[in-house]
């Protein structure tokens, strides 16, 4: 008891006071941001509630939506979530492999390998993803390779993101100091060993957080895969029920909510991974 009262009554040092102010400021900032978010979400919900709001002399009427339709089709549209995540995971795996290969190719001193890598990145980045998905679906059968809608989509997404992500991996590789390579050589490692044991591990730590960002972007671009009609993911399901039952808007709003929630979750996971990786910094 006496111990407690003693610490409470003890006058705080200048540094402690300054620190407290800082903490309070930060807390107030967070609270205000949270409040603003609530207000923004409230405005968004009101905009879609179909209710009339009168502010001064002006009356705004909200967007009318049929909540009955939304309730009835919720489980059906949600059934596409798994497919969306599955496509994204398969595509990001392919993209990571391609990106790493393309980045290594970019650093190669062998002309054909360097050319192949730059050619791939240039061609893929120079054409729309939507077009690439149809290309793999329609053109490859002429070569005797018949891909299902799903695999055509995964191939297109993987190739596309691989090209964009090769820049990330290249930046990662070049972020490893020249001294590291020289030191590895000095203790007698072969170039392959240097790459595997010294350069790549350090480069990957640099590259993983941006890959998370790309993955989050990909979950949304995976909607394009439904264009061929064979992949029954979120977007496909919502457009089909929406069109057939004349409720495009409601169906798209539902898909939007699912994508948003999924993105929020993935962003959260991404931030955890990022802090984990930052711990290793010295």
């Amino acid at each position: 008891m006496s111990f407690f009262s003693k610490t409470q009554n003890a006058p705080k040092s200048q540094a402690e006071l300054l620190y407290d102010i800082q903490v309070r400021k930060e807390r107030r900032f967070r609270a205000n941001v949270g409040l603003s978010w609530l207000i923004l979400v409230f405005i968004l919900v009101m905009a879609f509630s179909g209710q009339e709001v009168t502010i001064g002399s002006k009356t705004f009427s909200g967007i009318q939506i049929d909540t009955e339709f939304m309730r009835k089709n919720l489980t059906f549209i949600a059934g596409g979530l798994g497919e969306t995540i599955r496509i994204s995971l398969m595509s990001i795996a392919l993209a990571m492999i391609l990106a790493l290969l393309a980045a290594l190719g970019r650093l190669s001193t062998v002309p054909p390998i360097y050319a192949l890598s730059t050619f791939y990145v240039s061609l893929i980045r120079g054409t729309p993803l939507y077009l690439q998905i149809f290309f793999f679906f329609l053109a490859l059968p002429q070569l005797g390779i018949i891909l299902s809608g799903l695999w055509a989509g995964v191939l297109a997404l993987g190739l596309n993101y691989g090209a964009y992500m090769s820049e990330i991996f290249r930046a990662g590789l070049s972020s490893v100091g020249k001294g590291q390579r020289e030191a590895a050589m000095a203790i007698g490692m072969t170039p392959a060993q240097t790459m595997r044991r010294v350069i790549l591990p350090q480069a990957l730590r640099f590259a993983i957080p941006p890959v998370g960002n790309e993955f989050i972007a990909m979950t949304k671009d995976s909607a394009l895969v439904s264009a061929t009609g064979f992949v029954h993911e979120l977007m496909w399901r919502s457009t089909k029920v929406g069109r057939a039952q004349f409720h495009n808007l409601e169906a798209l709003i539902m898909a939007a909510m699912f994508y948003w929630v999924m993105t929020l979750l993935l962003t959260y996971i991404q931030s955890i991974i990022e802090t984990r990786l930052a711990r290793g910094d010295r």
Binding site: L89, S148, G149, F230, V231, H232, F246, L249
Partner: protein
């Protein structure tokens, strides 16, 4: 550092495992073909024996052998073909994983297609490629036949083979209810909408070659000086008007679609009189590596029998509330 590498490689591994899990599912049809082969002799006897020993494999025989017929249909249209969101996929289905079973899709086209499957004694599965992929031909054997309310026309006949018609659809013009237009002629100089790659778009463009219909089934001339607005499907045209957009005053589509729009309470009205009538039939890909002739003959036989015994009229009454399976004069 090691941890990191393990983490990264685990991520890649996990995704690859997921991908690998996906593979058997998509290859399932191939796997099921093997056990079916034991039944094949009995099933293929009748059709295959009568056919000349051509080099190409016969599609009818292939369908009987694998135990399901893969029908393409566009589930964007109620009541022709639309998803049954409450239906659950039967566990013992032979359908490929990216195709829908009879339980997951419904409508007039679906019932007509199922009748073909039933006549052959096989399961009917539904592939859902986007509409422009179906009409373009070159299906790369991804599905067997289209039963999707496709209008027979001359340009499609260059890439597709058609069965006998199973129903007929008059095409009409619908306009915004408050637009004040009452006749087809009064639409001169206005903007009109149609689904892209549909015959309605061809008619609006006055492209009679693309429309490819005989003169006797065309009832009205295209209004003069109109602007054509092609959207992805006819349904976007209707919804665009319903949402209050003014990009066009009306749209051309089948009478059944307009009736469904009206039933759903969309603020549109139907202009009196059909502009032309379409004969709708099942279609086969001319570039198929399988010989489609025997299956086409079988489909003709099934549709003719269904016209004769009133099954199609019954289905039409069930889905459209009227009989539209009688040929217009």
């Amino acid at each position: 550092m090691k941890k990191l590498l393990t983490l990264a490689s685990l991520l890649v591994l996990a995704s690859l495992v997921l991908a690998a899990c996906g593979t058997p599912a998509t290859e399932a049809p191939a796997a099921t073909e093997a056990p079916a082969a034991t039944e094949a002799p009995a099933a293929t006897e009748a059709p295959a024996a009568t056919e000349a020993p051509v080099m190409e494999k016969d599609m009818l025989a292939a369908v009987l052998e694998r135990g399901y017929i893969l029908v393409s249909t566009d589930p964007n249209y109620e009541p022709q073909s639309f998803l049954n969101t409450e239906g659950t996929r039967p566990a013992d289905t032979k359908c490929p994983s990216d195709a829908l079973t009879n339980a997951e899709i419904q409508g007039f086209d679906v019932d007509a297609a199922t009748a073909i499957g039933d006549a052959l004694g096989v399961e009917t599965c539904f592939a859902t490629p986007s509409w422009d992929l179906i009409t373009a031909g070159s299906w790369s054997d991804k599905w067997d036949v289209s039963v999707g309310s496709m209008t027979i026309n001359t340009s499609r006949q260059q890439v597709l083979d058609f069965s006998v018609p199973y129903y007929y659809t008059p095409a009409v013009i619908a306009v915004a209810a408050d637009s004040g237009f009452d006749t087809i002629e009064s639409l001169a100089g206005q903007a009109l909408c149609a689904g892209v790659s549909t015959t309605y778009e061809a008619w609006l463009n006055n492209d009679m070659e693309a429309l490819g219909l005989p003169d006797s089934s065309i009832y009205a001339a295209v209004p003069e000086g109109i602007t054509v607005v092609p959207l992805e499907t006819d349904q976007e045209c209707a919804q665009s008007i319903a949402s209050g957009r003014k990009d066009f005053v009306g749209y051309v589509t089948s009478e059944t679609v307009v009736d469904a729009n009206l039933a759903a309470g969309l603020p549109v009205k139907k202009l009196e009189g059909a502009v032309y009538s379409e004969d709708l039939a099942a279609a086969f890909d001319k570039s198929s590596t399988l010989d489609t002739a025997s299956l086409l003959a079988k489909v003709d036989e099934v549709f003719t029998a269904m016209h004769a015994d009133g099954t199609l009229s019954e289905l039409s009454n069930k889905w459209f509330g009227m009989d539209i399976t009688q040929a217009p004069n």
